[in-house]
């Protein structure tokens, strides 16, 4: 008994001593001065944090592949300010703690000049406060939740945000397709889908339409017959499916199988070659919003698609295009800033104006979100075709 009590006492003493000595230093992170060093020579490090394993692995991998292509092309052209780029990718495993670890390590150990990431808004929300606190600019390629850039002035994104995209498609459904009743089928595991569904609903109802039914699924589900059957009996004239391509393809097939003939509507999460291999003919007559139309793509977009295919043997997805643009926007900002100093880089990113990116012209607004045009595509004969363009 003696021994244990003494031991406890000693350890307690240790706590008290360390506590009182260190207490005033454990506030405020205390490491603004250390780490995140921006070297003036040598390679420019872009730190990429993405889900490379886990159930959302294909998103991270798509983004990473395109980002690496961008770095390769930048270096082939001689780099920027005479310095070459290097991209370091850390796996977040789709996990919140890992995302924070990854960003911390990218700043502390890898000395990243800028951070690229993440695809998932909830993971970006883990990494952004760290980047903001350590004053390292972060550019998210595809997080669409408005909150991400609200974290601070060092956080940017290159994709449009949910409220905008949802509104565009809602008005398209109401005014162009003249629809009165639409059902919503959203992915409750994905904040992208939830945000887009809410934005659509608000705008559609505000424009005089009604929501016939609201159903949900979880990313990774394979069986949608229950939801589609329920929507079938609701009399909806279209279904808003703002999810990702894998499930959307299966949903389209399920709908066709169950005799539901109304068009599906969606967002840029549809953009992937797998959408067509999975969905097939069931997708004909559906519409979705995206960054560029394959049949009307700018020369820049076409070149990107061709280069990606040449390097990886597969076509890029919309996420990939955004990853590519994320890197390019960072490189452009470095060029304009003339240095990699954090404050200068931040300012240059904030003043990005009419930058010609693969996914459209990017101009950063005051909230550090890009003002970009949305392209609406129609699927016909197994291919996506240009339908209309909507400017912000």
């Amino acid at each position: 008994m003696h021994r244990r009590q003494l031991f406890s006492l000693a350890v307690a003493a240790g706590i008290v001593i360390s506590g009182s000595a260190c207490k005033k230093k454990d506030e405020g992170g205390g490491s603004d001065a250390k780490g995140g060093g921006k070297a003036d020579k040598g390679e420019i490090i872009i730190g990429h944090y993405a889900s490379m394993t886990g159930n959302t692995a294909h998103f991270g991998q798509d983004t990473d592949k395109a980002a690496r292509l961008a770095v390769e092309q930048l270096n082939a052209a001689g780099g920027v300010l005479g310095r070459k780029f290097k991209i370091v990718t850390f796996d977040t495993r789709g996990d919140g703690a890992e995302a924070a670890n990854a960003v911390t390590r990218l700043i502390d150990v890898e000395n990243s000049t800028a951070i690229l990431g993440e695809v998932a808004s909830s993971l970006s929300l883990q990494g952004a406060p760290i980047a903001q606190r350590r004053k390292v600019p972060m550019v998210s390629p595809s997080s669409t939740n408005p909150k991400v850039t609200q974290v601070g002035d060092y956080i940017f994104r290159v994709c449009y945000i949910d409220p905008f995209q949802g509104k565009v498609m809602a008005l398209f459904a109401r005014r162009t397709l003249k629809l009165d009743k639409v059902a919503i089928l959203k992915d409750v595991k994905n904040d992208y889908s939830i945000g887009l569904a809410d934005a659509f609903q608000k705008a559609f109802v505000a424009a005089g339409g009604t929501i016939a039914a609201e159903q949900s699924y979880s990313a990774g589900d394979t069986d949608f017959s229950a939801q589609v059957t329920a929507i079938k009996s609701s009399g909806a004239q279209a279904i808003w499916v703002p999810g990702y391509y894998a499930e959307v393809g299966a949903i389209a097939r399920t709908a066709a199988r169950l005799g539901v003939k109304v068009p599906l509507l969606g967002g840029d999460g549809w953009d992937a070659p797998e959408l067509f291999t999975i969905g097939g003919d069931a997708l004909n007559g559906s519409y979705f919003s995206n960054h560029f139309a394959p049949d009307q793509a700018s020369p820049l977009a076409q070149k990107f698609v061709a280069d990606f295919k040449a390097k990886y043997g597969q076509e890029p997805t919309g996420l990939g295009a955004l990853g590519y643009d994320g890197v390019m926007v960072i490189a452009d900002a470095i060029r304009r800033a003339g240095s990699t100093a954090p404050a200068a880089l931040r300012d240059a990113l904030a003043t990005t104006k009419a930058y010609e990116a693969v996914t459209g012209k990017i101009t950063m607004d005051k909230d550090r979100n890009p003002e970009k045009s949305v392209v609406v595509l129609k699927i016909d004969g197994g291919k996506a075709k240009y339908e209309s363009l909507v400017n912000p």
Partner: protein, 303 residues
């Protein structure tokens, strides 16, 4: 009304697949008192084996004419063989060495094998969901407001055929009878001269083959497959086995159908968000109220 019938039909077809998988769980548990956590992954590998076999046999060339029946059967047999081999290997490599260890050790080993297969599959097959090849060309017809596809009918036919086959195997063949003996009392069986190791391995093989069949049917019905498809489905099939009475073959079938129905009804009438939770709720209720399962018998524990 037609909606209700549609939901019931969908529930039963899903349930048939669960039943096929549950059979594997129940047979292994009956013999070894071990929950084979890796069984869900065998189901997944079976589905992928079918996928590659179909592609290898050029299914894509047949989109209009429809894949010939004899080739479809070949795909099924191939997948079942691959799974049987995998199941037996897992037993031999990972479970046999720890058979005499305290109960926890094989449980953890099983979890380890399951995790290993999931992640190895993710590496080998990439995590992207893949559309399942049209081994069966889909034909729809409507029956009083209810849409029935030939895929659903095939699921019923194949599942019933396999279950009848299994029953005959267990009742009539020598190996089947040996399996029943081993599951009743393994020591007595050994004393009667039965090579228990071989029988155990055979049990794993048969259960795995059934799971593979379930995997192919699942792919056809659910349109896509992905490396993590075995996780939740495997768990639900296990609950089905428990619901019916673990160790009881008819129980596994009954349990599978019930779980499939429960899941579909919950998704359709309550909320799709709870479709997975309902399985666990059922598990908890059955274990508290009637732990031996619906068709199981209470075995008093000798002290």
């Amino acid at each position: 009304m037609s909606t209700l019938l549609q939901q019931i039909l969908n529930g039963l077809s899903l349930g048939s697949i669960y039943a096929l998988i549950a059979l594997g769980y129940t047979m292994v548990y009956g013999i070894l008192k071990l929950i084979n956590f890796a069984h869900g992954e065998v189901f997944m590998i079976g589905a992928y084996a079918g996928y590659f076999a179909a592609l290898g046999l050029g299914v894509e060339r047949y989109t209009d004419a429809g894949f010939p029946l004899y080739l479809a059967i070949l795909v099924l047999v191939f997948a079942m063989a691959v799974a049987a081999l995998l199941g037996a290997s897992i037993e031999f490599l990972a479970y046999r060495p720890v058979r005499s260890a305290p109960r926890l050790t094989p449980l953890i080993t099983a979890i380890g094998v399951s995790l290993f297969l999931q992640n190895a599959a993710m590496l080998a097959f990439t995590p992207n969901p893949r559309p399942y090849p049209a081994i069966l060309k889909e034909v729809r017809f409507e029956l009083g407001g209810v849409i029935v596809t030939n895929v659903k009918l095939t699921i019923f036919v194949v599942a019933i055929a396999l279950m009848v086959g299994l029953n005959a195997f267990i009742q009539r063949t020598w190996t089947g009878k040996a399996m029943r003996a081993v599951s009743t009392n393994i020591d007595a069986a050994r004393l009667m001269g039965i090579d228990t190791d071989r029988i155990i391995r055979a049990t794993f093989a048969v259960g795995s083959a059934l799971a593979a069949a379930g995997g192919i049917l699942f792919g056809l019905d659910q349109i896509t497959i992905n490396p993590l498809m075995g996780v939740l489905t495997g768990l639900k099939a296990f609950v089905a086995a428990v619901l019916g009475g673990i160790g009881n073959i008819r129980g596994a079938v009954l349990g599978g159908l019930l779980i499939g129905l429960a899941e579909q009804m919950t998704a359709g009438y309550l909320s799709p968000d709870y479709r997975d939770a309902i399985t666990f709720v059922i598990l908890i209720i059955i274990l508290i109220l009637r732990p031996q399962g619906l068709l199981g018998v209470v075995r008093p524990e000798k002290v």
